[in-house]
Symmetry: C2
Subunit: 471 residues, 2 copies
């Protein structure tokens, strides 16, 4: 619909991402309505908030304005919580007034697969192109900048959880974005939840480019179904790479039925499945094939050094069974688990009980329960091995342990990623929050997700020349 | 080492599974020692408990006995919490006295890969064969019958969580068994945790056969690395099938490195990887390739009817993105997602908003948030479709909802499995416990795990004739 263009950057999206004022057209006191939920979300915002609805004098304690005309200023952002037939006139009015950006929730556009729906969406796109006002949507859930308390959408966004190594989440689908954003409830340091639905103007490439330019997160979790212009996403990816911002990417619609479903969801025409790995290679994305692994993979990328020091992975475990499973997963993902050097073997022998083998994988046996220092010795020996670029530590039982902090500290000291793989089915049991909060310790709940991430981390290093930062 | 034999059944293992008395040789007051942890576990047991250790008059308030000689009776079970050199004499003594079964924690046997270790293990096996006393271990963590409060092992077993559709967990590896058993902490109704380590006598086949005979659980989660006698496992599987007890199975050591690791873990020689699917087909097991999915798959089998009514799966979602992902996962696992019949289309049209498509997958759109009854109408229409054998419902947000109970009720009424797939990254968020507790609603946290389980459920039905119960 629109012409091919470079991604919008932080400048183009500045009024959306850091507004001084937000108006909500369609503000409502009706419980559970989108208007009421959006207004509740705006209560966290420190800027000026203007509910707009001619039927009320006040809503939720805020004076309500009859129309955009009645506002004391031109707002940076206008959220349009109206049904499709009323949307276009309001959007055109916003553009005339010089609003910075609008958010459109309404469905009934390209995703209906009707000529009318497509035409209505094209008219919105044209308003954006002609005015320079940015549009998020239609058929979208809005977006959130959590550290700023800016929740410009109707979902129940998570509370901000301060922490280093924050994750910016970019999701075309609003419901999926919300599902993924709830990782914050179990301890993930999330900074942004940026959705775009049908993407008549702002799309996932634009959100990614803006995150790269603002430098406000340490890694991006990106998911989308269709793109009008893949070249724009590659351009955004190059920008991210030049700023050292890693991206974990998961594309929806990799099957025939899934692709057909994408068409009726956001009106997106998806490219063939084989395009996904090719695009990731071109863009330097770490591909994620299972959505469940997207947030953990992004957290790994936020915590791992940019490049590996060596190509092998060591496995340190207090359980033979999990060591076997880790070796199996490494083999499935083509990750090398090399034998330790003689020096490492000697160091392992010095700390292991007599009946444990100084190998890689290294099973320190159940003795680590009674003697937690033993695991530390094993970890030290393996991380010091020059053939080892990363350490995987399957963790059998949910419990708080000083060894969790030790693993993060060892990762920092050696400059090598350490991945704690939570084998316990107590998925949010004691110890998980500590691991999540450590700035250098990556937490996975799946050996496959862990080794897939490691394999992609090694492969990206092999494939890409060292990018020199452009500033 | 031992001759091929039929699996032990509930009768052979009766004194282990339902003892009246348990003695603990190597009872200890030393914090964190295996002796102390085992004694703490026995505090939940309602039968008679006899700590044995010549160095103490009493431990933890219980009178301590100097030796087995000093006990007032022959115990049904003796737990041997001693190092390897002291074990054999005690075990031989137990056999002479007529003990029912012993549990051996000590490592240092076949898993050391030494002639001495193998010979020591063979002598233990010979004691079991000659005396008829059963041995669990060596190099094992023990076992637990949770509803009876019998925790005959050193790990921190979960508290029993009463509920229908209980899961019996059989795990060769103790640490892995413990990791999986912690599913109980997030709501899984676990009945047994049965480990066997090096399996010089009792092995996973025996534990499975005993569960089949006692009928004390609704499904089994089974994991092992090596088996001396695969035919015994197939015999146990046939017994389970004849009693209508479904089994989800995950074998460790499916890679070269993993298989080598199994040898140093429990001294197990593993069969080639391709043997795993063949064995599952022969045994009627539902194969699970990723350990993370084992407990969820077992819960699905405990809750699903034995056989599907039709071969198609319907997908009902309140989010287009998750509907696409579900369709992708169905395609990956070869599960049919057929178009609805005209009657179903009509029924869907009657409940859906105008802008939503009456298809399969059916995306009821974000309107379900404001109007939860809409999802119910969609679920009813799809479950009533004669081409549909199961329903998958991706669930985007963690929240308590009456619709969770409704989904379980609909599964019961239609006699078709309903799978709630938790897309939220708030993995134990509000709503999960309710779903887990529902006797007919299966909960998965991965679309792949869900569709792999459904594919295996359909395939098992195709492959196996209807088994007539033998009693």
């Amino acid at each position: 619909m629109t012409v091919s263009r470079q991604p919008y950057g932080a400048g183009d999206l500045a009024r959306l991402l850091a507004p001084r004022s937000v108006a909500l057209v369609g503000a409502s006191p009706t419980a559970n309505s989108m208007g009421a939920r959006s207004l509740a979300n705006l209560a966290r915002f420190s800027g000026r908030v203007f509910p707009v609805n001619g039927r009320y004098a006040a809503i939720a304690g805020l004076p309500c304005h009859a129309s955009l005309d009645a506002l004391p200023e031109v707002p940076d952002v206008v959220i349009v919580a109206l049904a499709a037939p009323q949307v276009e006139a309001v959007v055109a009015d916003c553009a005339r007034r010089g609003v910075g950006g609008v958010v459109i929730y309404a469905a009934g556009y390209a995703e209906t697969q009707t000529a009318e729906g497509r035409a209505a969406q094209a008219r919105l796109a044209a308003i954006a192109q002609e005015s320079g006002m940015r549009i998020v949507g239609p058929n979208c859930a809005g977006y959130a900048v959590l550290p700023a308390g800016l929740l410009a959408g109707f979902p129940e966004f998570p509370a901000p959880r301060p922490g280093p190594r924050g994750i910016g989440l970019v999701a075309q689908s609003g419901a999926l974005g919300l599902a993924l954003s709830q990782a914050a409830e179990r301890g993930v340091a999330l900074t942004h939840v940026l959705t775009c639905g049908n993407s008549c103007d702002v799309d996932v490439a634009d959100w990614l480019a803006a995150l790269a330019e603002t430098g406000s997160c340490a890694a991006v979790a990106l998911t989308w179904e269709g793109l009008e212009d893949e070249a724009r996403l590659v351009a955004a990816a190059r920008l991210a790479a030049s700023r050292g911002l890693p991206v974990a990417a998961c594309r929806l619609g990799l099957s025939e039925v899934g692709a057909a479903q994408a068409l009726v969801h956001t009106g997106s025409v998806v490219t063939p499945p084989e395009r996904f790995p090719a695009l990731c290679a071109e863009a330097g994305f770490v591909p994620v094939t299972r959505i469940e692994a997207l947030m953990e993979t992004a957290c790994f990328l936020a915590k791992a050094p940019a490049r590996p020091q060596a190509g092998g992975v060591a496995i340190a475990s207090g359980s033979g069974g999990t060591a076997i499973l880790a070796a199996d997963a490494a083999a499935r993902h083509g990750v090398a688990v090399p034998p330790p050097t003689p020096t490492t073997v000697e160091a392992l022998r010095a700390v292991l009980p007599a009946f444990a083998a100084p190998r890689n994988p290294c099973d320190a046996t159940a003795q680590v329960t009674a003697n937690p220092a033993m695991l530390r010795g094993v970890v030290e020996a393996l991380l010091a091995d020059p053939g080892i670029g990363a350490l995987v530590c399957p963790w059998g039982k949910a419990y708080r342990s000083d060894n969790i902090a030790f693993l993060g500290e060892a990762a920092r000291r050696h400059g090598k990623p350490v991945c704690l793989v939570w084998m316990s089915q107590w998925l949010e049991g004691p110890g998980t929050t500590e691991a999540e909060a450590d700035p250098d310790l990556a937490l996975f709940r799946s050996l496959d997700a862990c080794f897939a991430a490691l394999a992609a981390w090694f492969a990206r290093d092999q494939a890409m020349p060292r990018v020199s930062p452009d500033q």
